[in-house]
């Protein structure tokens, strides 16, 4: 009896040691990672802090993140004088348009690729896979020319269309995989009730694909919000159509000494997208991870 009890407590002892080792590991990694993670987000903290300081304070007090007397005057200057309000609206319009078109086209493409066998299916898949390895950014000249030929140069719709035209292979694969897994009975019952191809898709299957749709919406929203080359080139003749990134790039030469104004403009552009990301982070990260898994 005594021997058995001793062995038990020995096992118990081992278990406690293991738990203690795990806790110690957690504490050590947390202590190492915390400063690194803070350095990682430091530029954003500096940006928000500089946006609430006066230019004097930025140059004088330097590295202190907390402003002495927080001011919102910089935001007003950026929003009104530097035209950030106009650029903000342009960016929202372009993002909304391209998200709508991309969700519509990739969900339809993913649906037929995931659920139907038809002549030509392999060719279509081949085309999309091939585009993954094509370097983007070297096609900008023909895109500029094409938008011009369509009579869409100097319009927001031109930017929307060009953004929607990048082959969104990952989105298509996400939709195809998701639709492909759904049981056949779903549409069979509807077809018996007399539903056609369109109704089966729009009323029965598409509403079930909400998680994938959320991923595609957030990924395309962020891609569109952050786009630079396309809106830069396509709004060259029309400064009033600039997006946030193009607008800031254009007036950084003009206001180069106004750090607090520039920081406020950057905050206006960046903070909304960070908030959207934090709110829908799960979908975004799943979308990125999907690129490797598929």
């Amino acid at each position: 009896m005594a021997v058995k009890a001793k062995r038990l407590s020995n096992e118990e002892h081992q278990r406690r040691l293991a738990i203690r080792a795990t806790r110690l590991r957690e504490i050590v990694t947390t202590i190492i990672l915390t400063p690194l993670a803070l350095i990682w987000v430091y530029p954003f903290l500096w940006m928000v802090s500089a946006a609430m300081k006066t230019n004097n304070e930025i140059f004088r007090a330097g590295t202190n993140l907390l402003p002495n007397e927080p001011t919102f005057e910089n935001f007003q200057r950026a929003w009104v004088q530097a035209n950030m309000s106009q650029y903000f609206l342009n960016t929202v319009a372009i993002a909304a348009g391209s998200v709508f078109i991309v969700v519509a086209t990739t969900s339809m493409m993913g649906y037929v690729l995931g659920r139907y066998r038809f002549p030509g299916r392999r060719i279509v898949i081949g085309i999309f896979v091939a585009t993954v390895f094509l370097p983007k950014g070297y096609t900008i000249i023909p895109i500029f020319e094409l938008i011009g030929n369509l009579g869409l140069d100097g319009t927001l719709f031109g930017v929307i269309l060009a953004q929607s035209g990048g082959a969104h292979v990952i989105f298509i694969l996400l939709f195809a995989g998701y639709f492909g897994q759904m049981p056949k009975e779903l549409e069979e019952a509807a077809i018996v009730d007399g539903a056609g191809f369109l109704r089966v898709f729009f009323q029965i299957l598409l509403p079930l694909a909400k998680p994938v749709m959320a991923t595609v919406v957030i990924m395309q929203l962020i891609a569109s919000w952050n786009d630079f080359l396309l809106p830069l080139v396509l709004t060259l003749p029309r400064p009033e159509l600039r997006t946030l990134s193009v607008g800031m790039f254009a007036f950084r030469g003009e206001y180069f000494t106004d750090w607090s104004g520039m920081a406020a403009a950057a905050t206006i552009a960046i903070v909304p997208i960070i908030i959207v990301f934090l709110a829908m982070q799960r979908y975004f990260i799943e979308g990125i991870a999907g690129a490797v898994k598929s």
Binding site: Y116, A162, L236, Q281
Partner: protein, 331 residues
């Protein structure tokens, strides 16, 4: 991406003619139309159009193009500025990709530890730069790394690490590498998520079994983590390498290719040749820029293909070795 698997519906019997099958599927084709048309217009057509435009001398979208055959190509290949930008793009890739991927792997392994309760918060913090607007981040970073009152230089001067401020983007020897540094910071989150996704496919029971056998972290890393990550590593390296060549927004806002073209990468060179000259005295040269784009696009594709074949070959070798080992073990 190497093995794309879309679950297929049960094969139907092919007793009907091709024309009938196409007619039966008319809705399917109609559904593919919008996506296919957009992809043809904005992804496939531009690739072929670039080839076509490169055969012309063409100075601006309003003037008439003039056919000159392959003259642009023979001129580009001896252009020092093209060579400089081409070299810079590849230096950029070969510096950025290994550092970014290994740092991301280390962070992913640490964050994958179940004992770390704050892991989701750290993951978010490392990921935030990815979602922020690149061009605007570039402008903010020129302030943060500025030699005049920029916080990084000020902190290092205060700590006594530096005697004089560093001009990160103004020093021709440093500019390209400063852009690499910002690029690594900005995009590290993506390979981190790739690695995390790959790590999560490794069952925890493997590590537990190894621990029971007395394996330390190094054993676990070399004998479990590395071999099981290898199939993912190929595709992660490829996606990251191709992605690293798209640095237009950062390069343009951090240095604009300067000083004296020291940090000019291909995209900036192409933009400058085709569009950027609008404000200066030289005429834009669209055909010439297209010829440069064609050269560069082709070399990237060749590199990606070689990498894919190399990976496939390595996998085959390994499979062969493993097979040989099992037969030897069996005998």
């Amino acid at each position: 991406m190497t093995t794309i698997q879309i679950p297929l519906p049960k094969p139907i019997q092919h007793t009907r003619s091709l024309r009938q099958r196409i007619a039966d599927n008319r809705w399917v084709y109609l559904f593919m139309l919008p996506s296919l048309v957009l992809t043809l217009m904005f992804t496939l057509y531009p690739i072929f159009a670039s080839f076509y435009y490169s055969l012309f001398q063409w100075s601006g979208f309003t003037s008439a193009p003039h056919y000159i055959g392959t003259l642009n190509f023979s001129e580009v290949i001896v252009d020092n500025q093209f060579y400089n930008a081409f070299k810079n793009s590849f230096i950029f890739m070969f510096c950025s990709v290994p550092i970014k991927l290994s740092l991301a792997l280390v962070i992913a392994i640490v964050l994958n530890d179940r004992a770390l309760r704050l892991a989701p918060i750290f993951r978010t913090m490392f990921f935030v730069p990815v979602v922020t607007t690149t061009a605007i981040v570039g402008i903010v970073m020129t302030f943060i790394m500025s030699p005049f009152n920029g916080p990084i230089n000020m902190i290092m001067l205060d700590l006594g690490v530096l005697a004089r401020p560093i001009d990160f983007f103004g020093d021709p020897k440093l500019a390209l590498y400063s852009v690499v540094g910002v690029e690594i910071w900005k995009w590290l989150g993506i390979p981190m998520i790739y690695w995390l996704a790959a790590l999560q496919t490794i069952p925890a029971s493997l590590y537990e079994a190894a621990e029971v056998d007395g394996a330390n972290w190094r054993h676990k890393f070399t004998y479990i983590t590395v071999p099981l990550l290898k199939p993912f590593a190929v595709i992660i390296v490829l996606i990251t390498a191709v992605g690293t060549l798209n640095v237009f927004a950062l390069a343009m806002t951090l240095t604009g290719g300067g000083p004296y073209f020291a940090s000019e990468v291909m995209e900036v060179y192409i933009y400058r040749t085709a569009f950027g000259a609008a404000n200066s005295l030289t005429l834009p040269r669209i055909g010439y820029a297209c010829a440069a784009a064609v050269y560069f696009g082709l070399s990237v594709m060749v590199m990606a293909t070689l990498q894919l074949f190399g990976a496939r070959w390595a996998n085959k070798e390994r499979a062969g070795l493993a097979a040989a080992e099992t037969t030897a073990g069996g005998a």
